[in-house]
Symmetry: C2
Subunit: 440 residues, 2 copies
């Protein structure tokens, strides 16, 4: 079975109309996906053609730029034997990242890294389907050597060598079966951000906090950073509704300089916060370290814009990060994510992936489950984001029950989109956008 | 006078055929430019239409991706009054960087930052033409307040506030006229990398080193990192030809992990090296700091892949950088470059810009001259890169005399390309590429 051709689609959902997903930096995002389909000449057990489906997430304008990059990178996979590719996902990944000309456009950051994520996510989906397993299970069933060969460890050997990584995984082999059984029983715990978008009214905030409690959530996260007085009022409302025992987090989405982050977080600290998320530029490792020292015991969480494993390495080396919020569409697929999980286990930093957007929840459930079963070996002090938006566009959407992700059972990476959603929201020529763009 | 429309061209030169510009990481680059032209409805004093010409540099594949991003960003300038834009270049810059949707694709890194550089470089060229000054002089003639308003200081206030920046520039106002006169007399010193590309034979290396000496250069830089034995041999040849008193630098172009960088540089240190350039991942601030501690007195130089001012801030805060090699096509134009010059002056780090590629020499001469005249106030311990490739494609190419850049006198940023070069090497439809791509 070979990869015969690829389709890359620019799909955008008009979320800016309802302020879903609005925060102090991202005021009017149209949550969008670059959707990559790797077609093959093979036939699945159910008679349908075998294909891999991968996405990355953006917030609208520029999604076509990522799509163009993904088209060029995906083309590098055309002609590959699927079984051979699946047996050497590390080599497949490196064959794209090491392109001697495109590398200049990053390296390993920005558009070409987002697009690589979509392409390799599709490759992982295909590998999972071929193995008949959800990808969390495909990876969890690997030997330590196999899993380390998947991981991109380049530039990490000052803190984590291949041998150290293998030893770390080997130490977690005992108890794997029990953890899988535990996961099947109770799922992976999540928190909701659906309540706290900045564009929502106080009433809506109050109502959504109450609904979250009623659904069993113990964590609530609010967007902050536009106006301190309003943030104090909104944190007050949230704390009042959820009571003293549930957990409150805040998220500034990078709007502050370092001194302002310290001042503002300190002003909100009386509301008993677990973490301040993205207090400043995502590139500012030393800035995060300074903020963390100043605002403790409030923790510092970051990662959704942390563009590669080298940045995560430093955030951990510098003691700048209490919670690692890696993003499954920004890191270049599981090849880089496994490296970050290994780093986090090495530095004992809990991984609490970023989700929301389009399809991130579908992916990060696999990441957290892999982390629990095979890498960190624990769910203690970990909680994965969940946002209840846009799942209706997926063939196999996430299931959340009792504030926990239920392990996906179907083969692949859960990011196959419904064909009718892709057709309707394709930019700019799907019926939705064609109609809207035709209206003056 | 208003900006009426924009042209963005993907121009690629087939440098991979001759190994010009080859190094251990970038083995076969086709040096390329995204070329942005901002057209206006105005007429210059010489009767030609007023236009601004800006470029960024890439190494081939993916240049079209940057061009697509540049097209979208340049479109944001269409309709602007040129005089109003020129009077508020800081605001113009921020209106693009703060796009609430495209920001997700960086922020401020990778493709969308390279493309922003090309777009704003064109805007600066236009502003210079309107003022009738080369851009180094346009900026050097600004008041401290005006120059600081140009600079993007966001995320820097933990080390450099607006007031501190103004005070720094004010302290350099005395002596400006003398420094301009000195510059007109003696130019800005440069070194050559043309001798030491990795793909060149020993004979060619020896001959080019001798030619460089004959032309008056006192610094020679070699590419290293592919093979230690060969590097020892090549450094030996270079040191033998240039003698004990001239200066030798080496450049590894990111091929090493941190421990390997320390080991390899230590093995070459006996050849008396001024600096090791790009020893590891450009993102690894803490890694560079560790290497610097280990290999002193060999200095650490980096910056051509340092993607924004927040990274430079940290490299300086961490004491990780002996020489700041900012890149005028990777930082998003003079708006960000001025911020980095201010940081470098604050931390007393000499700025030695990266050049070569396509048009980088044309731009960095302006940067170094501005730094000397208005920011650092000195040329002491500074040296700017010069590579003698591809200048024939520019209308106003650099002039190097006695191993020094001669100050450009014509208005603008020196990056207007010859129309016949653009036509010939446009990818994929110019005659050169159309012919080559048609040949199987």
């Amino acid at each position: 079975m070979r990869i015969t051709h690829v389709d890359v689609e620019d799909v955008r959902f008009p979320t800016s109309l309802t302020a879903d997903g609005s925060d102090a930096m991202n005021k009017d995002g149209d949550h969008s996906a670059v959707y990559v389909v790797l077609h093959t000449d093979g036939t699945a057990p159910d008679g349908s053609p075998y294909a891999g489906h991968g996405i990355t997430f953006t917030t609208g304008r520029g999604n076509d730029i990522v799509a163009l990059a993904a088209r060029q990178q995906a083309q590098m996979l055309v002609g590959l034997d699927v079984a051979e590719m699946s047996a050497d996902m590390g080599g497949t990944y490196r064959s794209i990242t090491e392109d001697t000309q495109m590398r200049w456009l990053g390296p390993e950051k920005g558009v070409v890294h987002l697009s690589l994520s979509a392409v390799m996510n599709a490759a992982w989906d295909l590998a999972g389907r071929l193995a008949g397993k959800p990808v969390w299970r495909l990876l969890a069933d690997m030997t330590p050597e196999q899993l380390v060969d998947v991981a991109d460890l380049r530039y990490l050997s000052d803190v984590l060598t291949r041998d150290q990584a293998i030893a770390l995984l080997r130490a977690k082999e005992a108890g794997k079966a029990e953890r899988i059984a535990e996961l099947e029983r109770t799922g992976y715990p999540c928190y909701t951000t659906s309540a706290g978008w900045l564009g929502y009214s106080d009433e809506k905030l109050r109502r959504l906090c109450q609904e979250a409690i009623d659904e069993g959530y113990r964590h609530i996260k609010l967007k902050v950073g536009a106006n301190l007085e309003e943030d104090i009022r909104r944190c007050g409302i949230a704390r009042e509704v959820i009571g003293p025992d549930r957990i409150l987090m805040i998220d500034a989405n990078q709007v502050w300089d370092v001194p302002q982050a310290i001042e503002w977080t300190s002003a909100l600290a009386p509301f008993d916060l677990l973490w301040i998320e993205e207090p400043t530029s995502p590139d500012d490792v030393l800035g995060h370290a300074a903020i963390k020292r100043a605002v403790a015991p409030v923790g510092v969480a970051t990662g959704e814009h942390c563009h590669n494993r080298v940045m995560f390495k430093q955030l951990m080396q510098a003691g700048a990060m209490d919670y690692c919020q890696l993003d499954a569409g920004r890191l270049a697929s599981l090849n880089e994510i496994v490296a970050v999980l290994l780093l986090a286990a090495t530095f004992d930093v809990p991984v609490c992936p970023h989700a929301g957007g389009v399809g991130l929840c579908e992916m990060v459930q696999h990441v957290s489950m892999l982390d629990f079963v095979a890498v960190s070996g624990t769910r203690e002090g970990r909680i994965t984001e969940y946002v209840d938006h846009l799942h209706e566009h997926f063939v196999e959407p996430v299931t959340v029950r009792d504030a926990a992700y239920v392990p996906p059972r179907l083969p692949g990476y859960s990011t196959r989109m419904r064909p009718e959603s892709v057709a309707e929201f394709r930019f700019p020529d799907g019926p939705y956008w064609a109609g809207r763009l035709a209206t003056p």
